[in-house]
């Protein structure tokens, strides 16, 4: 009964606010937006707590095994993503209350439609409906990204975002067309029954094409170029949803399609390779940033790589790890973005070097930021910690991927802690003229003012939730992951109205091993942060070789991130060709 509300409610509220928003008192408009998001979160949470359900819109049940209508096929993974999305939108709505100097009900409208898109995307069981909600989400995201379009420079980031993601969406649509021509159906389970065991080159090519659009959204190498530009352009409250839920939604779609529709073991190697590359590129680029929002954006790329590695093993263990990781990462990363937003609000800058020592004015932001950095590196207790452990456990047979995942945790944690030490403790020497990457600072979004409660409360709330997420029932996540990969069970539930029993969860990694690993990554992250801050005090014999490796590595990677949209589309074409060729011609 609850199924349609996560989509219908935000849409109605958005249309109402857009039509009447400037006539209503500001407080009332804010209350409507926040209320709609909160009720949506509640509906999704109830769906998450329940067993998998199938809801046919219009009451149009399948006839003799043929799905005619559109269904929401809701399981813990989809409902969980919807809960996470609505919590992040809620935080973004609160944070934006005092963030824009002028009333911003259009911003709220965009956020609400974005939420409806994300919820529909997470819950649907129909391939074309998935694409429609993907586009709802994208259209709203483009608007959010370009919202503070005062200068040409930032607007370019929004244009890059729109062009690359639309190109990806076209490729996905062409894949859907191929599959439709083969099956004459659009329901995931129905299509699965028609293509299962017939994975000829049409199905393989279609799988590559369909996945491409979602991998672009997930910022997987080599589709990642748009992400940092878009985050630098977007207002902070939009960034938290982009990084915390939208990127993960792309990965969720890949897992969902693999589980319910394709079931192709051939996907393992290309996805794993892409995951490893994403971890490493994200880690290096993250560490090389001084613009805080870009730093966090590149760390999102690294973590998307980690999540993809968990998904790519195509086993319940890795998938349930990825699910937990998404929850923890989304909450932590959103809190970190809010901290960056508070710095921009209070100190009117977001450049790590320019802010040297100035964070002492706002020590509480520093505490939140440091806590976020530690959790990002994999410190317990969060769902991210358990997810990290499960992903490592699942990657037992893939040492390179394990290494890449570890590097991603260390480097992103170290980058955040380094920025934290420099800004809030004034550690390290002042480096006023250190070479930056061209993009160092951005225009403040507000007049400098003390930080209002509507900004720090959401950040603290998200971190508290991140810590609370450690107590999410992991067996539930494990069996939901096993169920997600079981296309046959889904098909019987969707098409034959059966209620298959939930599978048993995969074995977990022993806690001690996870704790030891977390101690290692967190310790190395702190050490790396301190070493970077005090590198001038190290003997030259140590600094020389590091510089000789690091400078060309970071320099050449940076050189690839030109910010030119033509380059990004060229990489996209190359990426889809590589993914397709690895599936079709192997």
């Amino acid at each position: 009964m609850l199924a349609p509300w996560p989509v219908a409610l935000p849409l109605v509220a958005a249309a109402f606010l857009a039509g009447l928003g400037d006539k209503l008192p500001r407080r009332l408009a804010d209350a409507i937006a926040i209320g709609a998001a909160a009720i949506t979160a509640l509906c999704c949470a109830l769906l998450l707590a329940g067993p998998p359900v199938v809801y046919w819109f219009g009451g149009i049940q399948p006839r003799s095994g043929t799905a005619i209508g559109i269904d929401f096929a809701i399981d813990a993974n989809g409902a969980g993503l919807a809960v996470l999305s609505s919590l992040l939108i809620l935080a973004a709505l609160f944070f934006s209350l005092k963030y824009f100097d002028k009333p911003a009900h259009m911003f709220q409208v965009l956020l609400l439609v974005f939420l409806a898109g994300l919820c529909g995307f997470s819950l649907t069981g129909d391939l074309f409906d998935l694409f429609v909600f993907f586009e709802v989400m994208s259209a709203a995201a483009f608007g959010l990204c370009a919202y503070k379009s005062r200068e040409v420079g930032p607007l370019q980031g929004a244009i890059n975002f729109a062009v690359t993601n639309t190109a990806g969406a076209f490729i996905t649509l062409s894949g859907i067309a191929l599959l439709y021509s083969r099956t004459g159906a659009l329901n995931l389970s129905h299509m699965h029954r028609m293509i299962a065991g017939h994975d000829d080159s049409l199905v393989l090519a279609a799988a590559a094409l369909v996945c491409t659009g979602f991998l672009v959204k997930a910022a997987i190498v080599p589709f990642q170029f748009w992400l940092a530009d878009a985050h630098a352009a977007a207002p902070t409250p939009a960034c938290i949803v982009f990084s915390g839920a939208m990127v993960e939604a792309g990965l969720y779609a890949v897992a969902r399609l693999q589980g319910a529709l394709f079931g192709l073991p051939q996907l393992r190697t290309p996805l794993l390779a892409a995951g490893v590359a994403t971890c490493l590129v994200g880690a290096v680029m993250c560490f090389a940033q001084r613009h805080l929002k870009r730093l966090l954006a590149f760390s999102t790329i690294a973590h998307a790589g980690v999540i993809l590695c968990g998904i790519a093993v195509l086993e319940p263990g890795g998938l349930s790890g990825a699910g937990l990781y998404v929850v923890g990462h989304g909450l932590v990363k959103a809190a970190l973005f809010l901290c960056a937003g508070m710095l921009l609000h209070r100190l009117q800058s977001i450049d790590e070097l320019a802010l040297h020592g100035r964070g002492r004015e706002v020590p509480w932001v520093g505490v939140l930021f440091a806590l976020g950095g530690l959790l990002l590196a994999g410190a317990p207790p969060t769902a991210m910690f358990f997810g990290d452990g499960a992903i490592h456990h699942a990657l037992e047979a893939h040492p390179i991927a394990r290494f890449a995942v570890t590097v991603a945790s260390i480097a992103t944690g170290a980058a955040v802690l380094r920025a934290c030490g420099r800004i809030f403790l004034g550690l390290g020497p002042r480096e006023p003229d250190a070479p930056g990457g061209g993009e160092q600072d951005e225009e403040p979004e507000t007049e400098a003012a003390p930080i209002p409660w509507s900004m720090w409360v959401p950040a603290a709330f998200l971190l508290a939730l991140a810590i609370g997420s450690a107590w999410l029932p992991r067996e539930h996540a494990g069996s939901a992951a096993a169920r997600m990969l079981d296309a046959h069970s889904w098909a019987t539930q969707v098409l034959d109205r059966a209620q298959p029993a939930m599978p048993s969860p995969p074995p977990e990694e022993p806690l001690a091993k996870g704790l030891a690993h977390a101690a290692l990554t967190v310790g190395l992250a702190i050490a790396l942060a301190l070493l970077t801050l005090f590198r001038k005090r190290l003997p030259e014999i140590l600094r020389g070789p590091v510089r000789a490796v690091w400078n060309p590595l970071a320099g050449s990677l940076r050189a690839l991130h030109t910010g030119a949209v033509g380059d990004q589309v060229a990489w996209l074409t190359l990426g889809v060709a590589a993914l397709g060729a690895s599936l079709v011609f192997s």
């Binding site: 559109i70 004459g184 190359l574 060729a581």
Partner: protein, 248 residues
């Protein structure tokens, strides 16, 4: 630049190869063996009283997709309006010196006559398409765009002042919200009646008549309103500074 072309060239070749490998296995053109279409052709008139099966699919069997699509258009219009308006706020100071290009009514009587002839035909055609979506090809989306061209023709033939009189921005904005919310609310009616979201709750009427097919026709109406006013708002926000001058 050259490196990019090489990169793209390799990528495009690979992409073409993958596409060709997939498309090679397609069935010959025109063959159809899905059960889906056969079932719909058989059931849409008896069940939904809609002689246009495409409308039955768009607004009933797969009505949720259309809800999403309507909101894609809606949110795009909202986003464009928000972005253009925001830029306007910051450029208000240098706008006063902008050369006046206010669009007055054209000198040519022929253009005006053309407009006078075109507007009524377009209005009737648009309304017909929206209201007959469940009977014949067309529907709320197509009819809405056709209707939206009316203010545009007026703008071209009678100038900005007349445009503002027949399509005031507040009306366009309100209609857009009403149309978009209306679709979702009609969906909610199903739930309120104890059925599923988007399930039909109104009498079905006689197949082949304009007011038949229950919610299909109502949903067509909301889409027509949302799309028509949405396009008008889009046009208005592009020519906003000219319209504001006309207001003064």
């Amino acid at each position: 630049m050259k490196a990019r072309l090489v990169l793209f060239g390799i990528g495009a070749l690979g992409f073409a190869a993958v596409w060709f490998a997939g498309a090679r296995k397609l069935d010959p053109m025109g063959s159809y063996h899905g059960a889906y279409g056969e079932i719909l052709n058989a059931v849409s008139v008896p069940e939904r009283h809609s002689t246009n099966v495409v409308s039955a699919v768009n607004f009933d069997y797969r009505g949720l997709d259309t809800l999403g699509e309507e909101f894609i258009l809606y949110i795009s219009v909202v986003a464009v309006a928000a972005i253009l308006r925001k830029q306007k706020d910051e450029e208000e100071e240098d706008e006063d010196e902008a050369p006046t290009q206010l669009r007055e009514a054209p000198d040519s009587d022929a253009v005006r006559l053309f407009g006078v002839g075109l507007v009524p035909v377009t209005v009737i055609f648009g309304l017909y398409m929206i209201s007959h979506g469940s009977v014949s090809p067309g529907g709320g989306f197509q009819g809405g765009v056709v209707l939206a061209t009316v203010p545009l023709v007026v703008y071209l033939c009678a100038g900005a002042k007349t445009y503002l009189r027949i399509a005031p921005p507040a009306l366009a904005k309100g209609g857009e919200g009403l149309g978009a919310a209306g679709y979702a609310l009609i969906g909610c009616l199903g739930v309120l009646a104890g059925k599923k979201f988007l399930e039909n709750v109104v009498p079905l009427g006689t197949p082949g008549e304009a007011w038949s097919a229950g919610t299909i026709t109502l949903l067509n109406l909301t889409v027509g309103v949302a799309v028509g006013t949405g396009f008008v708002e889009l046009i208005s926000s592009f020519v906003e500074e000219l319209l504001r001058k006309a207001e003064k």
